[in-house]
């Protein structure tokens, strides 16, 4: 399996670049993953989305409904796409260290 190296720590990723062990996530990992999703600089709004996803995931082991993400961050879906060009599920969730969404999504 492929891996990335962030600050000397090897972290396994799957074929789509999602990290395999959510416990290995930290802010530096997020910054590293962000570059691969077309996000050069993680600004406050990026962190607001990523931190919300992260907190929700730690509590519920799944990403929130997209409508809830928009409501809780106060951002429109359009704006979230501007922040994360690859979208909330495959971009923002990946940066937040969540597993790849599965099923009819």
């Amino acid at each position: 399996m492929a891996s990335i190296n962030v600050n000397g720590v090897e972290i396994e990723i799957d074929e789509d670049g999602f990290i395999q062990d959510p416990d290995k996530w930290n802010e530096d990992v997020a910054k590293f993953l962000a570059k691969g999703e077309g996000v050069e600089e993680m600004g406050d709004d990026h962190w607001k989305v990523v931190n919300y996803l992260r907190d929700y995931y730690l509590k519920f082991q799944i990403a929130p409904m997209i409508r809830k993400l928009c409501k809780e961050t106060g951002f429109s879906l359009k704006y979230i796409y501007e922040l994360f060009p690859s979208g909330p599920a495959k971009g923002a969730c990946k940066i937040a260290g969540l597993p790849k969404p599965t099923g009819c999504v």
Binding site: E15, D16, K59, P64, M65, R67, K100, T102, C104, V105
Partner: protein
């Protein structure tokens, strides 16, 4: 990456992924032998498969009726040619002329390359059955795809996406991996949303004793808020005692798509047990096409015990209430131009005909809740697939490009209705896979429409006392 000798392939599940479903992949050196054995088993068991193998006269009618071929112009996507990938092997091992004359009669040895070819092309078929509905011999190529996918799965060749869904089914009872705490949290959130937007109090009872067991698609918890809201508003409006089961929280059934023998039955029993435990009288199904096919057409024959409950589709329920004038609806609340995409599994796979069948029921509903409904052509049982059927929802670059091509015919149909001309059209696609396919595809094809379920529009049109 997901390509094998020039053929696009979905990302495969790894050995670790398969282990979660307790499946041990067959080693490469034994794959061919095992595949032949499984093929032999399939032909002795399924007459539909033998019909497809022995009766095709290559008239070619299926070619122009397949959206995958129309979109890609790849000859292997002509349904009979896709089946030929198995037929040539069938001939070689199970017919006299094939054993004696080999290539002269189109028979071919099975090799690992052929298996990789199966994996590529049987995941480019969306199991929509349009070819089956036009075949003069009644050959249903979907059945061939199903057998190919089952064999490939047992060999260990299966998309990561499908196995991920399968693992979710075994772990928490749905393909999206939404466990009960997240289900309850999401539904509480939607209760507040309904209050904010429509000003009515609507609860989502979970795991309560009730008369009606409502089974939504688990994708609704991620992507389709109005589908959940519409269903809850309808049940509340008619005063039903209803509940959503958390143990069996999936209207879909990925088992139908790659593992009918075990996974599909696993979910069947989860439904059976939920119905017993919650003491329900009736089961109502949410918006999911392939799932509805599994539950309506396969469940009675696959479930381990006799069924004691009537199982209906939510659309059939709503249509009944509309026909009997029990719903007050204001169609002007959905005033945009709207067209309806018929999910293939509703209209071609579930005996939906007749004035009160599912196909017409969808129209009864849409006419009652919108003001500017325009049919796309062809429609009903002749409709084309969205291009994502059977969860061909892969997002790796090669397969994503295929999805764009697979949806080309559908995009042309939608554009011809003119609903998106002013950029405010509605594409009603009452199935979770169709929705998941259309959300990005209406952007790729710049169709000027937003995607909604049918029950979404009902929820918005309900007039409360």
């Amino acid at each position: 990456m997901p390509e094998y000798k020039g053929m696009a392939q979905p990302v495969k599940a790894t050995v670790e992924d398969l282990k979660k479903l307790r499946l041990v992949p067959v080693p490469d050196e034994k794959k061919v032998e095992e595949a032949i054995r499984l093929l032999d088993e399939a032909r002795k068991k399924f007459r539909s498969f033998v019909l497809a193998m022995e009766s095709c006269v290559k008239c070619g009618l299926c070619a122009e009726n397949c959206h995958a071929y129309l979109g890609t112009r790849d000859p292997h996507n002509i349904p009979t040619n896709r089946a030929e990938l198995i037929r040539k092997v069938y001939k070689r091992y199970f017919t006299l002329e094939g054993r004696w004359f080999g290539k002269l009669v189109g028979a071919e040895d099975l090799t690992l390359d052929t298996l990789e070819q199966w994996y590529s092309y049987f995941y480019q078929c969306t199991e929509c059955r349009r070819c089956g509905s036009v075949c003069p011999f009644g050959i249903d190529t979907c059945e061939v795809t199903m057998i190919a996918r089952q064999i490939l799965y047992w060999l260990g060749m299966v998309p990561k996406l499908h196995v991920g869904g399968g693992w979710g089914i075994e772990r928490v009872g749905n393909q999206t991996n939404v466990a009960k705490p997240a289900i309850v949290d999401t539904l509480e959130f939607l209760s507040e949303e309904i209050k904010d937007e429509f000003g009515v109090d609507v609860r989502f009872p979970v795991d309560e004793e009730a008369d009606i067991l409502y089974v939504p698609s688990s994708a609704d918890y991620m992507l389709n808020p109005y589908t959940l809201m519409g269903a809850a508003m309808f049940f509340t409006y008619i005063g039903a005692k209803w509940t959503i089961p958390s143990f069996m929280s999936e209207a879909g059934n990925f088992g139908l798509l790659f593992d009918q023998r075990h996974l599909m039955r696993h979910l069947f029993m989860r439904l059976h047990d939920s119905a017993v435990n919650l003491g329900v009288k009736k089961i109502v199904w949410g918006e999911c096409g392939h799932g509805w096919r599994a539950w309506k057409m396969y469940l009675p024959y696959f479930v381990d015990r006799p069924l004691r409950w009537e199982i209906t589709h939510l659309h059939d329920e709503v249509a009944y209430y509309i026909r009997t004038n029990q719903l007050k609806l204001d169609p002007t609340r959905n005033s945009q131009p709207v067209t309806l995409h018929d999910p293939c599994n509703y209209v071609r796979a579930c005996s939906p005909a007749g004035p009160y069948g599912h196909t017409e029921n969808m129209r009864t509903i849409i006419r009652a809740v919108t003001v500017d409904f325009r049919e796309m052509y062809p429609n009903r049982e002749k409709n084309f697939c969205c291009g994502g059927g059977s969860a061909v929802l892969f997002d790796d670059p090669e397969m994503y490009q295929k999805r764009i091509q697979f949806s080309q015919t559908k995009a042309d149909q939608i554009r011809a209705t003119g609903v998106g001309k002013d950029g405010n059209g509605i594409l009603c696609a009452p199935c979770s896979i169709c929705k998941a396919q259309f959300y990005p595809m209406v952007e790729e094809h710049e169709l000027g429409v937003t995607v909604h379920g049918l029950i979404d529009l009902v929820g918005k049109a309900l007039v409360w006392k």
